[in-house]
Symmetry: C2
């Protein structure tokens, strides 16, 4: 089962580590008590869905042996004005170099959107959450 | 509006950058064509929700001037067996040092869960998605 661990390192900074040992620093803006030394948790969710779809698309285009040379994904999130300021809309833009046939790119995108992207489908179909809170 | 950009750097590797200039490397396991040089997109969504709640909790405990010395969050995800292998359950565990009163921790956790955590509420209330796919 996938797992991750986050350790508070003071102020509003955390180090998050996956179960393969990769770590990233999470932090927030000075206005929110941080030192701006890392990515905000709310930005990670945008990177997660854009990354998941980008993986699927690149993977499918590579398997099809298309002439993929450049691939960029951009994501823009729109958040509600009131707490909890959840994302109400995300706009994702995917661009490949022009040597890739648009129909191949479009087909790879549709396969990710409709069949493969675990993060997009997690965001569309709410998971159950269980919590365990304690001191020790 | 929050934004992020991901650039493919070859194989199955991407560099993701937020709008404040912080970057992380995304990659996948060798079995999936990667070099295991970074975090998988599906792991980021777990870090995102755990990080968001951890932020809220630490922030509230600090404002309450509790004796917070240590704070750790762990998250475990359960994914469906079939594509798109979405997360069906996430288990989140939060631990503070024993000098923190359990009721203070519990109250901070509840405020995050019920009122403040943007990522948890995004995962519980599906956002709209818009896509723009092209070559250029």
């Amino acid at each position: 089962m996938p797992t991750a661990k986050l350790v508070w390192t003071g102020d509003m900074m955390f180090v998050a580590t996956d179960n393969r040992g990769h770590s990233i620093v999470l932090d927030t803006k000075p206005e929110a008590g941080g030192k701006d030394a890392g990515i905000q948790p709310a930005d990670l969710v945008m990177m997660s869905v854009a990354g998941c779809m980008a993986y699927d698309i690149v993977s499918i285009l590579k398997k099809k042996r298309t002439d993929l040379r450049r691939f960029v994904a951009e994501v823009e999130g729109e958040r509600a004005g009131e707490h909890p300021k959840r994302y109400v809309r995300m706009k994702l833009k995917f661009r490949a170099n022009p040597e890739v046939k648009l129909e191949d790119l479009q087909r790879a995108f549709e396969l990710s959107r409709d069949k493969y992207c675990s993060v997009l489908h997690t965001l569309k179909n709410p998971a159950e959450f269980e919590f365990d809170v304690g001191v020790e």
